[in-house]
Symmetry: C2
Subunit: 297 residues, 2 copies
């Protein structure tokens, strides 16, 4: 067993661009320890114009980084809806265990704010222009997976798409080819539903307050909808950080996935050698390498 | 795209032992529809001696099927602890978002009931004697994966082990080689932490009331521990169904993973062709083929 683990390690070290010597010399840090020791250069800020903030009825807050590089029209709609106060006084209406929490549909017939555009599919984008750090392991859903600019990504070499990992935020839609107008958003709260990749638009990922959305009571209606509007979980308001005075904006950071720290983190996720572990797996899937995020300042 | 999907489909149909003709002729049922239409023969009962029931302080109940075929000594300890009332008046003490809910450690110094055995590792068992229905897709953690007798399984052909999927229940332990005495149990509440496979003993899986354990407030202490005993979530009592009068026992069923229904279910999970989906993935991972369970009668 030890021999096999060592072989897997050398392979992983080479695949991750780390020298085997470096690995052998390094203490067996846990992924969390690698994150804690990350230099400032390993982090990038979340741009204020991409930071969606949401305050629930009980005052707790959720922070979401939007991904205009992957779904620009959908993201523009989310921003227009937020600025048009669509989410203010709205609610979480669905929580399906091991699947999604969904909000924005408390009153679907309410008039939409101006500025919405009927979006194209935006379920994938050209792979060119994205610096994909590949994971060197097979994935049952995509020809290749990895990370680019802090996002989990699948790709076939020509196209690239965000993957449905825990905490990823998408736009609910009806049947194809209607792509949804961004009035209803969902976040993944369970096992990654990768079957949704390339079938629905992902627009971002929770970077703060994930527990606010993951620990809500599960709905007892069909596919987790609450059966009584009284069960809805109120959203007091939502806003874009760029619309706040600069000094008041909360600041979030995402680990740069092209940093040496992230390479070490991903390698450690695939090969746990910290004290608790007996047998490093020698592999990992893209959703089990969650990109570290933090609140700064 | 359509052409590629068709190719993936034929491959999957062959891999799952279904004739392509059958697939082509079949309506595009969603996995949930396949489960709803399953004949009685597609289900097996959960044996009362393997059914652990737990009632929380608020009266809500959780049902867990134990897996003595994989971890007999650990399971015997769980049963001895339950019969010795270890879990009665105990509590959930840790909820780490996207990881685990853990219970049984409200008073770790309390005297153990009689009958506990120091367990061996029990992190894997011989593959022989298990009828593994393989999934025909690559997995980054194990040479092969699939299902046996209603359980998600990884294997290298010689050994086989339960995989850490959503809802699986394991035994907390300290550092190796101490294997844990089953006084603290955990359940997976997020992305499958497959790095734990073969590093810790899995003893079962939640078959009812999963939302009771998944929607609890997350702990704010290190690795999700509650910081104040007042935050602990009380467990009123736990018992084994076999110890109840037969007529009063709740009855749970698990889909037979060697049934044609399960084959169709797994194939549909890998290739969603129901109305919502545009692009079937053409693959799936073992934790994204959750074995259907239900309460009977």
């Amino acid at each position: 067993m030890k021999r096999r683990a060592a072989i897997a390690l050398s392979f992983a070290a080479a695949s991750f661009g780390l020298s085997p010597g470096l690995i052998a010399a390094a203490p067996a840090l846990a992924p969390a320890e690698i994150v804690a020791a990350a230099p400032a250069s390993a982090w990038r800020p979340v741009a204020p114009e991409n930071l969606l903030l949401m305050e629930m009825g009980d005052g707790r807050r959720v922070a979401i980084e939007l991904a205009p590089a992957f779904a620009p029209v959908h993201v523009a709609n989310v921003v227009a809806l937020t600025r048009g106060k669509w989410f203010d006084g709205n609610a979480v209406v669905r929580v399906q265990d091991n699947y999604v929490t969904q909000w924005g549909g408390a009153d679907p017939k309410r008039a939409r704010p101006a500025g919405l555009v009927k979006p194209p599919e935006e379920y994938a984008r050209p792979a060119s222009g994205l610096a994909l750090r590949r994971l060197p392991f097979a994935d049952p859903y995509a020809p290749m997976t990895g990370h680019a600019d802090g996002w989990p990504v699948g790709s076939d070499g020509t196209l690239a798409w965000l993957t449905h990992c825990y905490g990823m935020v998408g736009v609910g839609r009806d049947m194809p080819p209607d792509a949804g107008d961004s009035t209803e958003l969902y976040v993944v709260i369970g096992q990654s539903p990768r079957q949704l990749d390339r079938n629905i638009a992902l627009v971002g990922r929770v970077v703060g307050g994930m527990d606010v959305l993951s620990s809500l009571p599960r709905g007892t209606g069909d596919i987790g909808f609450y059966t009584d509007p009284k069960q809805n979980v109120p959203i007091r308001r939502a806003w874009i950080a760029a619309d706040m005075p600069a000094a008041e904006r909360p600041r979030y950071e995402v680990m740069r996935t092209d940093s040496p720290t992230f390479a070490a983190f991903a390698e450690a996720r695939a090969n746990r050698r910290d004290a608790f572990y007996i047998r490093p797996a020698g592999g990992v899937d893209v959703c089990n390498v969650p990109v570290p995020t933090r609140k700064a300042g």
